[in-house]
Symmetry: C2
Subunit: 431 residues, 2 copies
């Protein structure tokens, strides 16, 4: 076991690695006698083997199917009986399992979670019906929703080579082909102590958490080496692309503009922070440039915003969107959004906008820390995507250091209209 000394602002966080490679993060929060227990695995849908898209997400479902020690349903029943909550989620870069219980039940959660890290038992009798559940999930969420279909097509146009272009849930025809052997092979590859991060936030001490973890997770032998992510790199974009989906079910048309941009992990120093500030300047509620220019001044949109997936292992995505006024076209709206960016590239941003954006970003993060699970999630997702605890704690200072020139430069460098991928969602009037 090694302990890494750690300077920070905010809670007094401990970061420990067990002898078997399991990383542990302890975030004290003594306001109420509860704990949030999360295990993060450093594998997500972007690590799905070629032709097996959806396997990370499918395995997340299957992790609730029981072990030799605990039959299917027992873990969830215990969480419920203890008055706790549980959840799990799969993203591009990680899969995580979560329980929130009274502090005295932490060890029970650890026992169950450690048990299913290596003890999962899968038979065709549980795998096959669960695959039907996922198929139905995809049918409901994506295949009957024009907006989700456009989203998939847009993502695959944005990322033509890197697996961020594949849907997290998987392609239907590949989900249909997933079986017990695929699930077990994937499980054995990625569900190891070396690949996991235990995050415990709550009314606990480092000493206590580490002792409990050693008694539970510590009994799992090291696998010997960390599984490697094998991902091709997306080539630089050479053309502008537009994806158009028209469907009779669409009630509100929309336009999106997307680009491949650096994540915190891949960015040059300060670039991700500048993109974060830019997005805030563009989309802050009520005062963002997109809202002011498109909704209030030009009256060509009824809403507009921006979104940046900054926490990611590889180059990630930034998206702007707007919903047109009933009289307007998406082409005009796309042009207007581009002009908002051109204005920033040509004239920069105002000092007051910059100040407000930075204050807001930092405040939002401080407020988020008020929620124990947000706090755990913030640290877990950062570590699972290759950032360090120091990156997280230094982040407010890094945001504070962003200059108006930085914002101008990242806009110019990354949000080039020659490389945009735009998405048009239209009501199909003909059908």
């Amino acid at each position: 076991m090694t302990t890494e000394p750690h300077s920070h602002k905010g809670p007094d966080i401990a970061h420990v690695t067990l002898h078997n490679g399991l990383e542990i993060v302890v975030i004290p929060d003594h306001r109420t006698p509860v704990v949030t227990h999360m295990v993060w695995y450093r594998n997500g849908s972007a690590d799905d083997p070629v032709g097996k898209s959806g396997i990370a997400h499918f395995l997340e479902h299957l992790m609730f199917k029981g072990t030799d020690k605990h039959p299917q349903g027992e873990f969830s029943d215990v969480v419920t009986a203890l008055g706790g909550q549980e959840n799990a989620f799969t993203s591009y870069d990680y899969t995580a399992y979560f329980q929130r219980v009274s502090r005295e039940h932490l060890k029970t959660m650890m026992e169950f979670e450690a048990d299913r890290m290596t003890g999962l038992v899968l038979s065709d009798d549980v795998v096959n019906p669960e695959r039907d559940v996922v198929i139905e999930e995809r049918r409901m969420r994506t295949d009957t929703d024009p907006s989700a279909q456009l989203g998939e097509s847009l993502a695959s146009t944005l990322f033509t080579h890197h697996p961020y272009g594949k849907p997290i849930i998987g392609f239907m025809h590949e989900i249909e082909g997933l079986n017990r052997e695929d699930a077990l092979a994937y499980y054995r590859r990625f569900y190891t102590p070396e690949n996991a991060i235990l995050v415990v936030a709550g009314d606990v001490t480092e000493t206590e958490v580490v002792r409990l973890a050693e008694d539970t997770y510590g009994r799992i032998p090291a696998r010997g080496q960390k599984p490697e992510r094998q991902r091709p790199r997306e080539p630089d974009a050479r053309a502008a692309r537009r994806v158009v989906l028209a469907d009779p079910k669409v009630e509100q048309p929309s336009v999106q503009l997307a680009w491949v941009v650096p994540s915190y992990k891949t960015a040059e120093k300060g670039e991700a922070e500048a993109l974060e500030v830019l997005v805030q300047i563009l989309s802050a509620h009520g005062t963002g440039r997109l809202h002011r220019k498109l909704v209030m001044d030009q009256k060509i949109a009824v809403a507009a915003g921006a979104w940046y997936q900054s926490t990611a292992v590889d180059r990630s995505r930034l998206m702007l969107y707007a919903l047109p006024h009933p009289d307007g076209t998406l082409e005009a709206l796309e042009e207007a959004i581009e002009n908002v960016l051109t204005d920033i590239v040509q004239h920069g941003v105002e000092d007051h906008e910059l100040r407000r954006a930075k204050t807001r970003l930092i405040a939002d993060t401080v407020y988020a820390q008020d929620s124990q699970s947000s706090l755990a999630r913030m640290y877990g997702s950062a570590l699972a995507t290759g950032s360090s605890l120091k990156d997280v704690t230094d982040w407010p200072d890094a945001i504070d250091a962003v200059t108006a020139e930085d914002v101008k430069q990242v806009t110019k460098k990354w949000l080039n209209r020659r490389h945009v991928v735009s998405g048009y969602l239209l009501k199909d009037e003909a059908a």
Copy 2:
């Protein structure tokens, strides 16, 4: 050795499989005392491992680097000294090596080609400079050519999951990473007798070719099993997409429309033939509908045509293109091309067009057989993509059976404007 009896029209072709799995096709052509000797491997760029794009093509280069028995350059020198010709090419689905020599030198070609099927010697001293050659090839052909760049972007938008969306030559950043170990691993996986097809056309008999092949290729031990192609299936398109590239170097703008369509290998009965006839009706020189409507009637294009990659292992692509009149826009031209298709979907094609298209297609193929190398190539590419000799010989009858209704139906089914990928090449006036 097994011999498959084979009924056909055209030349009296033999199809034999050696004990080690090597397939042999012998196409007699006694007009001149020459032979065309080709070896086809059932692996192309679409079989490149993820992250190693370009390896099939790179290995094609490296196959000229010599063996223990024959140092680098000797094979090519011998072909030249014998007054012969040689070539090699890599496509999505296959890699092939070709020599044309006097009939008495066939055995020499077989000895060399069989020798390099398993005897290739690669050192860093030859691999690394050759990689620079390929890098330069890519730089010259693609990275400085806006039309080629648009083509790559269009292909990756059309095929977002299947490797037909990756460039045959590879992505620059992946070519740069290819090394000796990658090349040897790939070579050992795919260069085996079970994965190869020997095609000999020329002034030879089956008996003679088989005897020579047994003395040369027959000495290579079987590997034990045929390498498998592992390719994800492209999901059905859900949206229309447009790819736009503007560059100051562009002198002639153009618009392309592309769709994923069945190949002969994947098509339902008659569909590929109907697409072939459609393309002929659209693009026959001087009389095709695209030329007549866009160039002659509407005068909005200076040229127009169509292209269908029908010989492929998986679903493939069909493209229409037009070059705008200097006064016209690409948007208008795209709309006009779509209207040519809509007209066919609504009103079908004329009997005389259908007849002329079928006659022309069949005649073109008959004329192509006049060239020994075209003949060898026709059979080799068919077998290498999973068609049979019978498919090739029955092809004229299958084309003849296409009806006007078939043409209308495939146009409606496959060339849907809701799923088109269009490519716009524009002169960048701003830069």
